[in-house]
Symmetry: C2
DNA sequence: CTAATTTGTTAACAGCCATGACGAAATACT
DNA sequence: AGTATTTCGTCATGGCTGTTAACAAATTAG
């Protein structure tokens, strides 16, 4: 039969509690009155909500704030920097990292390790990750934070709602079930594509996420992407959205590992760019050499990067025509080449998106992500925190159960 | 100041009223008890909701239904086929149409007219449309339906939330404000891109819209598209999403009117296909001739259509890689060429979407829309009805005010 | 020092839904 | 046939939630 179904009454209460938490997370310390106008409830109602949250030690009252204007100054409320925290982890091709963010979203703990995960058995990699997680947990404990969930970033395909890595070409993984290999003492664990989490970090790093919309490109060995429209991440029917790397750039171009031809990755993937610049991509050799040559003005290197930028522009122009984002953000390791990569990218994109541009005030902004390579890790921790904030009942129960 | 903000209490009531309406719209006649389990409320609560809706003449009680199983049979409820109705209108390149759908979504009235709108002044076209709307309204009146809103489909760019046509190349319109030209006695009027409404019609024509996700291609003179993921239409930051026609297929291909090169429209637009088949596309000459030649097996015609299918496949493979839809639907006039268009399209799409396909059970279904050229018109009426169902307060007020 | 403004709290109130019990209307079993 | 069982719709009760309105507290403006 239909399960009891949370009574819509208490559901409303939960929703309002969650709204208070999210409002404070997004706008820092606020008074009860301000929160009330933000979420459209009366001061009286917010008072009782805040009372509940204070009792559960999720909020801290800071006392009367600065009195800039007339009237009694409100008592500032902020999310606690002790108590629940969200963990984020990243499995990169050559590094592992774990971090913890408090409810405000502040990164409080961070441990990482150079580790060539490429073509290593999942057990070995996850063993290292668990060790890092133990250290992070201990450090979090030291500053009064207790785990309330973990999100893991993986450079591969993860079916929606699972903890399985279906394919991670750059790790050499296929059909790897992570369930038993993940840290078990950090609360609920979810696994996501690295580009999706990078995009979420980008979304949350700016004001008014609800009104934002962009295509986030995670360009490194593989090229992933994530699409955010109306402040929501598009994950696709199976959770595989974002395979920008296999969007065709030239239909009869060079064959790609995916079976297609002329995919973006064959032009703008890290290996393709290095090769085009005359650098043999070895296991250690990455973009450092190429950046140096570009800075030195070496023509072959510049040409290779320009070609990649053009290809990115062509692929993105398709995405932009189809999705009408507010902006385009480039993340991943390739951002180190941004000075040389972005101009041709912008030019190509501008040429090919004139129709929709007719209604735009200014040209579509294309920028490198300010978070740089940290995006996915921060996004993971942020997701864990947001998920926690979505379920105040659980947070409060955990506080009581202490 | 912050406006009164509908008190979340009555908001909940409104939401539940709306849920009852939508449940009945989606699943036809149901008993109170069934509705209750569907929306997760108790029978008692649903009884009072239904009471309100019956009083407002939005529902009709049909009495005890067939008693298939044990227990007292429930009294079947259905949405009324008298009372409020949604109007849909379509401004096509060579025809105008207006229809009215009752709350159940049934099309009850339909009037249309051959009318070459191409390069006619908006005033003239809208004058004709208003005349059609008057006739439709009169007919609706005759069967006891009263207007509760109108949605208009236009083959062009409509900024989100406006009634302005920014560009409609195939009508020859630019920056046309329709506000004063639209029928004024049908309730609230909204204007939308034709492909978006076609996609919505497709969405609503199948079971469980909430779980659906697809790319709908509206292929005719211009090629538009609409993306639905998680049962929601993506409209883009400005409302311009869906410009599939200007997705690059071959970056150095023939120049396109948009300023780009090798856009899909230069390969698969109606004019391009006709020309490639050796048919001069005159104002009256459309696809009839081409269909005939394909049926006759004429090689030039077949080659032209095959080429268009391949180009569509290339452009769509980009969209599929990026968005991971559950299926792809082809609508618009070009569906008449489906038997020859779809095979090359499917082949190309299959080749280029292998990565994500690794996680798919079956190949991505690519089908012609069963609604054919009626999609946008039905979608428009459907949208008007759904919008009405979203606001039970207004419907009830209108019923009282009668 | 008074008036005006804003904040947070309190008490009375109204709305909404859940709970549990009931009669009604059908089927299933003896 | 007659009883038990199942399901439906309704009713009275009660709990929870947020609103309204009034008030004291704390600040600025004049």
């Amino acid at each position: 039969m239909a399960q009891p179904a949370p009574t819509p009454q208490s559901a409303m209460r939960q929703l309002n509690l969650s709204r208070v938490l999210h409002t404070l997370a997004a706008e820092g310390p606020l008074s009860r009155a301000t929160v009330a106008t933000r979420i459209g409830l009366t001061r009286a109602a917010v008072s009782t909500l805040v009372e509940t949250l204070l009792r559960g030690r999720l909020l801290v009252e800071e006392g009367p704030g600065r009195s800039g204007s007339v009237g009694r100054p409100g008592s500032q409320l902020r999310l606690t920097d002790r108590g629940p925290c969200g963990f984020g982890a990243e499995i990169g091709v050559d590094h592992l990292a774990v971090c913890a963010a408090d409810l405000r979203g502040e990164i409080r703990v961070r441990v990482e390790k150079e580790f060539r995960a490429q073509h290593r058995a999942p057990d070995a990699v996850l063993g290292e990750l668990r060790a890092l997680a133990r250290r992070a947990r201990a450090e979090a404990d030291g500053v009064g934070l207790r785990p309330a969930g973990l999100a893991v970033a993986v450079p591969g395909l993860v079916p929606r709602g699972t903890t399985t890595v279906l394919r991670a070409p750059n790790l050499g993984w296929r059909d790897v079930e992570l369930a038993g290999l993940l840290p078990a003492d950090l609360g609920e664990v979810t696994v996501h594509n690295e580009a999706s989490l990078g995009g979420l970090a980008e979304l949350w790093s700016r004001g008014d996420p609800a009104a934002d919309g962009f295509v986030y490109v995670s360009a490194q060995i593989g090229i992933g992407a994530c699409v955010v429209l109306d402040g929501r991440l598009l994950s696709g029917a199976h959770g595989f959205a974002g395979e920008l790397g296999h969007v065709p750039v030239r239909p009869e171009g060079p064959p790609c590992g995916c079976g297609g031809r002329g995919c973006l990755e064959t032009y703008a993937g890290e290996e393709a760019v290095l090769r085009a610049a005359g650098i043999e991509p070895g296991p250690g050799v990455r973009l450092g050499a190429l950046t140096a040559r570009c800075e030195a003005g070496e023509p072959t290197a510049l040409r290779a990067v320009r070609r990649a930028g053009t290809a990115l522009g062509i692929a993105l122009s398709g995405a932009v025509n189809l999705l009408d984002p507010r902006r385009v953000v480039i993340g991943g390791t390739l951002t180190r080449l941004a000075p040389w990569l972005l101009p041709p990218l912008r030019r190509e994109l501008g040429r090919r998106t004139a129709v929709a541009a007719g209604g735009r005030e200014t040209p579509l902004p294309v920028t490198a992500s300010p978070l740089g390579p940290d995006g996915p890790l921060r996004g993971a921790a942020g997701l864990a925190v947001r998920t926690a904030l979505d379920d105040p009942a659980r947070l409060l129960a955990a506080a009581r159960g202490d």
